[in-house]
Symmetry: C2
Subunit: 301 residues, 2 copies
């Protein structure tokens, strides 16, 4: 296979990497042109402005994951049903230029009559499987909308979205706690974070545990600078409380160092160990999907 141009076009950023024929990153770019900043009809122009040089120079195949495939994106790549692995996803690509540029579909699944969706995370999960050489795994992608993903035989069987990061931001910025919390999050306060996780794991509703950030402050049992860490522990602990984890299990955490560190700490309270994978999971996933397409690509182009 030739070089691959891997693009992760999300809500708030546009990242690209030029990969060689072994999947190694030759060059990376990150541009503040997330899908939210791009008007309908403007996607091709933005893409060409930033990546045409790479495409022309190398005759590269380009694969795009993330919100660029949503209804508000470049073209809609309809959700692919779970279970789905490399084959199902490769068959459901939405082609912008046949044989040259394609968008990876998101996935949907259903639990008890309620649909769930992801876009972009499926690619990171496939990348993590490649990187770690796993066929079966439980993975979490922490963030604004965290995803918990169960993989069996290299296929995503089901997943669940938890709005952990968004709840943290809402409580941090707009709730009654915003008056008490310091403007800046500061360094992670380990004790306060662990205390928040422990309270959440005891099983009370988040509606109730959140109020403890106020009362512990009112009774001067937690100083204001420790409150952001405590609140972070409460919401991450609530996320973990909701997962059917077995003690001794290993969870793959895909994300930035800041977040994976917190999840590792919190998961330790559930006696679960972690394997961490960084942002390279997206490049690896895109490369692996492209590679699985390789034979049909030569026919198409």
């Amino acid at each position: 296979m030739n070089h691959v141009l891997a693009i992760d076009w999300g809500t708030s950023s546009l990242r690209g990497a030029l990969l060689d024929d072994t999947g190694k990153v030759l060059e990376e770019r990150s541009i503040a042109r997330g899908v939210l900043t791009v008007s309908p009809g403007e996607f091709a122009t933005v893409f060409e402005a930033h990546f045409d040089q790479w495409v022309r120079a190398t005759g590269t195949f380009c694969l795009i994951s993330g919100m660029a495939g949503s209804r508000q994106g470049w073209i809609e790549a309809p959700y692919c049903a779970c279970p789905a692995g490399f084959d199902e996803i490769a068959h459901a690509l939405a082609w912008i230029t046949p044989g040259r540029i394609a968008i990876v579909p998101g996935l949907h699944c259903e639990h008890g009559g309620i649909p769930d969706v992801m876009r972009g995370e499926e690619t990171q999960v496939l990348g993590a499987l490649q990187l770690l050489g796993l066929r079966d795994a439980l993975l979490v992608l922490p963030g604004t909308h965290s995803k918990w993903v169960r993989v069996r035989s290299r296929r995503i069987e089901h997943f669940a979205t938890l709005m952990t990061g968004e709840f943290y931001a809402l409580l941090r910025q707009h709730s009654i706690l915003a008056r008490t919390l310091p403007t800046d999050d500061g360094e992670l306060d380990l004790d306060a974070f662990n205390q928040g996780v422990a309270l959440a794991l005891r099983g009370n509703s988040l509606l109730q545990t959140t109020f403890s950030a106020r009362t512990l402050s009112l009774f001067e049992r937690l100083p204001a600078p420790a409150l952001p860490s405590y609140l972070s522990g409460l919401v991450i602990g609530e996320e973990l409380r909701a997962q059917p984890l077995q003690a001794g299990e290993t969870v793959v955490v895909i994300g930035s160092n800041t977040l994976t560190e917190r999840y590792e700490l919190a998961l330790a309270q559930r006696h679960v160990s972690v394997q961490c994978v960084g942002q390279e999971a997206a490049w690896c996933g895109l490369w692996a999907i492209a590679e699985s397409l390789s034979p049909s690509l030569s026919e198409m182009s």
Copy 2:
């Protein structure tokens, strides 16, 4: 006993009622001068501007409940520890003018090392006990910060705060759902509300159930005008899920008609029936506390 001037001075409003010697409301006033709008040192002036005529005319004893007794209020009435009933509260009044004007203290309790507090609700609870002739009860005061209160032998034994109304407002106004939800809540959509309650009662975390408002809308299974009712069902359902309720039990709901209707609907899904009490609970509670003071008042004045 003489007339009583009952004042409920909360965060966002100042309400007063002149009660005759049987506790009957002779006249009521509601003014947009909640504690948040009053500067330190200005409380006496605001009080006199609106109620001095009543006090002078009748030589009335005045009892105030609510946030006026907080650290940011008129004078601080320190929290009284649970269990607490009429006697404990009457002994812990904070006197502004001995024998004439007093503030009812809030209560605090502790669960598993976490303190909880209320101010104003204790008075409504005592009022509801009087109105319904109860000695033992489980009560809920729905609102921005809902309170669940357990009363035994006419004393508040313990209580818990759940930030249900605040979470609803945060999600409604500031979350990703705000883009999809209509500007106006509109009429309650019974089916959507009940569907939200049912999902919450199944036990998934609020972090996860909230995302269903987005996906049900995305897959066009819930029309946008039904989403506020659905979201209301989710948060109220989450509040109820967290309560150790027995089927067949009765819960006393103290609040406005709009809210008590929703709690009655939601509690029916837990096979619990309700007795509803309105805003008159505060007047009745203040009058009952004043009455229990009556002998000592004549000594003081």
